[in-house]
């Protein structure tokens, strides 16, 4: 069940998720989460697991920040949260992939904090912000942005792509990124801003980027 599913399971759903311009998402993974929520459907859960668990493991091991055992533990934590929080997933407001990404991100931050034994007394959820899609245009912007992002990502200069990977996939702060790459903090900051600009992440918001 955990092994590779039928052909086309990977890659295709990812793009179709973003090609739905607005409204209720009907992609495979969003429907999967809805079935998990409504019917406690273990088959749907297994399918979701076989697609996302290997991505969560890759996310955990980015930059070798966690051991393989911790990565497996993270996969378990995230997938248990998927089961537990499925009822709160709203396909009108978010793609399932973004939803599971934010869960994985929060769980990983909590694991980082536990491992360094930093007694923050706070979990990532306590200090984060759960977007509820209150802005009617948000889903539209996000989906259009992601289609472009994939197109533009391949043209991104290597030094900018590398920094984005450290910041997102490895979860490193700008200061940590600067220290690891032996770059001034200001250089990291400006490369991040350039990358965000090139990827046109904010193109629809009318920000002063």
């Amino acid at each position: 069940m955990v092994d590779k599913q039928g052909e086309g399971a990977r890659g295709q759903p990812a793009t179709s998720a973003w090609s739905v311009p607005q409204g209720r998402r009907t992609d495979e993974w969003s429907q999967c989460v809805v079935r998990i929520a409504e019917h406690r459907d273990r088959a749907a859960f297994g399918k979701f697991f076989s697609h996302f668990a290997p991505l969560i493991k890759a996310f955990a091991l980015s930059g070798s920040s966690l051991s393989a055992a911790h990565a497996d533990e993270l996969v378990q934590e995230v997938m248990l949260k998927v089961w537990q929080k499925a009822a709160g997933f709203n396909p009108e407001k978010a793609a399932a992939s973004t939803w599971v990404y934010t869960i994985a991100r929060n769980c990983r931050t909590d694991m980082f904090r536990r491992l360094q034994k930093f007694d923050t007394q706070l979990e990532a959820e306590d200090v984060g912000f759960e977007l509820e899609g209150a802005e009617p245009t948000m889903a539209l912007h996000a989906s259009r942005g992601a289609v472009r992002v994939r197109e533009l990502m391949s043209d991104l200069p290597q030094d900018q792509a590398q920094i984005l990977a450290k910041v997102y996939m490895e979860g490193k702060s700008h200061s940590e990124t600067a220290a690891e790459l032996g770059l001034p903090l200001g250089t990291v900051k400006s490369r991040v801003r350039l990358a965000i600009q090139k990827l046109q992440v904010f193109m629809d918001v009318g920000s002063e980027e």
Binding site: M1, A53, A95, N106, T109, L122, E123
Partner: protein
């Protein structure tokens, strides 16, 4: 109308969950005031999700799935237990987010200034709320680290401008200012003074102590 926002770098660190806890509280409280930044956050999160989806998948041992299946039914109880163990800091952050500021532990400092010290938290040398009576002034001061401030109620002005509810302000180390509450209503601000040592997160302590020494 919110005029001052976190910059792209700060919002991205927040979106990627690499901002320390104290600073994250300030940013997330700003987001309650600001739909523009909520949109920006949504877009930064979808960029993160895109990179996550495009990662090279790594095979999972089937026993991991079996373990998860075996634990599905215990999930609800674990969750309830966590709520019961919620920390003081977690409670404090909830009060701030809800605006229940009277519940916090305020100390009178001067005739026009009260401060609630919110306690020790990752990333901060000081994490506190300031209550400045209308027209009152905070003595001129500078700081050793970056100070992040969010106006929760009322407003204040200093040498650089005037700020109102929802505004997010950064003052770099060494900046000197003397904020004065605007007339009309008392001003309440949430403020974080960055811990002096920048490299406190786990990557450096755990993986690269040499790097930490050099960086420090």
């Amino acid at each position: 109308m919110v005029k001052y926002h976190p910059d792209t770098n700060t919002l991205l660190e927040f979106a990627a969950s690499s901002l320390p806890a104290a600073q994250s509280v300030v940013v997330s409280t700003h987001l309650q005031f600001c739909s523009e930044c909520r949109q920006r956050l949504a877009q930064l999160e979808s960029l993160g999700a895109t990179m996550f989806e495009d990662a090279q998948p790594i095979d999972i041992n089937p026993s991991v799935f079996d373990n998860v299946l075996a634990r599905l039914d215990e999930v609800q109880e674990v969750h309830a237990a966590n709520d019961a163990n919620a920390s003081t800091m977690s409670w404090t952050v909830k009060q701030i987010r809800k605006g229940n500021l009277d519940e916090l532990d305020w100390k009178k400092v001067t005739r026009s200034l009260r401060i609630a010290d919110l306690g020790e938290i990752e990333g901060a040398a000081e994490f506190s709320l300031y209550h400045i009576a209308e027209g009152g002034r905070i003595p001129q001061h500078n700081h050793s680290g970056t100070e992040m401030t969010l106006v929760l109620q009322g407003g204040f002005s200093d040498e650089s401008g005037s700020y109102h509810a929802g505004d997010f302000i950064i003052r770099e180390a060494g900046d000197i200012h003397a904020p004065t509450a605007l007339p009309g209503s008392d001003c309440i601000c949430l403020a974080v003074l960055e811990a002096p040592l920048r490299f406190t997160r786990w990557h450096h302590r755990w993986l690269s102590p040499l790097l930490q020494l050099r960086a420090g």
